[in-house]
Symmetry: C2
Subunit: 356 residues, 2 copies
DNA sequence: CTCTGTCATGTTAACGTAAACTTCTGTGCG
DNA sequence: CGCACAGAAGTTTACGTTAACATGACAGAG
């Protein structure tokens, strides 16, 4: 280094008081104030044992006085790790997503990892790809994808090398590490429950076609009916919203032989209940309704909703566990599907069909 | 573990093909392959103009071949910025929080910022303090706090110096930069609506005491009644959950003179509807109910809920705007409260009181 | 009294990137 | 023909931290 005369932008003059040029306090500053080397500050900062008590106290005092905070960028650079997991998702609006994300965040925090959210407004391929590109530039050790993975597959998306991935809500267990609720089992239980009550068959309001969860619930609904040798009515298509459930309910209310409906989520079930109420079709006396998710409100619908309980917290927990195992063992991929079990919660929206 | 035979973690030999020792590709690697200096790679990476076409192509080809991704830790270290905003929050479970967070994430992404979530399981002081400590160590340029700020004030918490803060749901506008829904106005509108319909007074089911939003809705409810010269019934205390609303509803169903209830959120209103239904009190013929939030499901309750619409997206947008202004202008604090307006959505759960 | 070992602390170097500066090449003009 | 100048690319250095090594002091053993 030549001369400092010019460099106002450089690091700022030394002793000029009040001239707060420097943004952040570094170890060097603490070290100077405490009269030790910056390495000693580092040792104190990281709780190494080999610092004598009096020195430690001095350093801590200096830290406090200057308001020292370690610079995580420098740390990350040094260690090659960020202690952060990225989460790519479409929307937090659905109960399932937000609860899963919350569980992921909680469990990750317990392991010393933070969560970085990358929302994708509209799940087109371009946007998802963009999210991954951004993710690649982001300070992230691994990624959890809560979005339809086929949007990635279809394109020429290559996941950033060296980034570990776990996927939620997907059938891509052959290529990725997938964690998911046991959608098929849930749908099966819902249908069985209704058949066991004596219903001849069960109608279905699906989720959006873009959702694997929705697709699988529909497949399992169909399969359960076929296995029981029952006729399979045409499915009505919803989009998870109570509004779409309501629309479907208005249609179903006009079908006299419809005595049992399985909605692919609780919100659509709410719409169904509303529609049946409007049309004077009593639930459960005339029509039974089963939902999926078991949102906290489901027990307070009119009538309280029989539904399939999903353990979102467990999904989040397993995502974190998988992703951390990948990070720690240094493996890039570890395909396979991890299914989280469900259970049916029977409330008051289901009953035997009306006798005639 | 002092011997290299084991340590694949080190840096790995140079030309050994296939032996992917090195975790990440650096500019130096790209530079070597492209036969240029790493500075040239940097220039290409950042789109500087002063690189001739052929060289640029070579570098890009090398980047592609090696799967180069810039190391954001090094970048952040260099620039002193992370392009990341931290969000401290209690829970994503409530509609309001998750939608606010989503809006924050979306708008931040549009500005090139990512969101890091720091969940606080139980909002004790210690935990919040811990979250802030963690945040201080985190790669974050600013923080948005969606949690009761008094949990911070009461303790000896000093916000990390140099970190910009915006707070949601708080009355701490004198000390912090606060963005919030106009809770008072919303509550006032709800009460006015019911009084205008002819109700003598309005009962209230509150949110949890720890919530400023809840407190302010309750205050404004009381004030609106007093301004109108009406008696103020004792408030019933809820905790945002439909279950607590249900419990309150069972109590209110037993009060014959109760003809109008304002619930501090929609979920508790759902519980109220359920309780009134159980007890055979017709809504709105005998009792009117107003909620707060206007969750998407509210229009499909039985009956569809009259409620105060909150613009969560706008709250998120303003948070991001404020926080970015702070970052860009380099100001640490900028106290003041920014209120987002609300509107009353009248549906079918309100009507004039029964004539007697 | 010297030698060895231990413990507290200091010094050096490296992580990957990019600003600032330096060097090199070729072009146009007097 | 030489010189100034512009443009392209290379070199140096610093960002803040910490592992690895170096230093120095002091204690106990021979």
């Amino acid at each position: 280094m030549d001369q400092g005369a010019v460099g106002g932008a450089q690091r700022g003059g030394s002793g000029i008081p009040g001239g707060r040029r420097k943004q952040r306090v570094s170890m060097a500053d603490v070290a100077k104030l405490a009269g030790v080397s910056s390495q000693t500050v580092s040792r104190v900062s990281n709780g190494h044992a080999s610092v004598i008590g009096s020195t430690r106290e001095q350093v801590l005092a200096a830290m406090r006085e200057l308001g020292y905070r370690p610079n995580s960028a420098a740390r990350a650079l040094r260690y090659g790790q960020f202690n952060t997991i990225g989460v790519i998702l479409f929307s937090l609006a659905s109960t399932g997503n937000s609860r899963t994300v919350e569980a992921i965040a909680t469990h990750a925090a317990a392991e010393g990892y933070a969560i970085t959210l990358i929302p994708v407004d509209i799940p087109t391929q371009d946007n998802v790809l963009g999210a991954f590109t951004r993710m690649g530039e982001l300070a992230v050790d691994a990624v959890i994808v809560i979005i339809e993975i086929h949007l990635l597959d279809a394109g020429t998306v290559t996941l950033p090398p060296g980034v570990h991935v776990v996927v939620v809500d997907s059938d891509a267990g052959d290529r990725y590490s997938v964690v998911d609720t046991d959608q098929a089992d849930g749908a099966r239980r819902a249908v069985r429950h209704l058949l066991d009550l004596g219903h001849h068959t069960v109608w279905h309001v699906t989720g959006p076609q873009s959702s694997y969860a929705g697709q699988r619930r529909a497949q399992a609904w169909r399969a359960a009916l076929e296995d029981a040798g029952r006729p399979v009515p045409a499915a009505l298509h919803g989009d998870w919203s109570s509004e779409s459930g309501h629309a479907a309910g208005l249609v179903l209310a006009g079908e006299p032989e419809c005595t049992a409906v399985f909605a692919a989520n609780d919100q659509m079930a709410l719409g169904l209940l509303r529609a049946f109420h409007e049309r004077g079709r009593a639930v459960p006396a005339e029509v039974s309704v089963v939902g999926f998710d078991d949102i906290p409100d489901a027990g307070f619908f009119i009538p309280p909703l029989t539904t399939v309980h999903q353990d979102f917290a467990e999904v989040g927990r397993r995502c974190v566990r998988r992703v951390l195992r990948q990070i720690r063992e240094g493996q890039v991929a570890e395909p396979g599907t991890d299914l989280v079990p469900v259970r049916l919660v029977v409330r008051e929206s289901t009953a035997p069909p009306p006798t005639r």
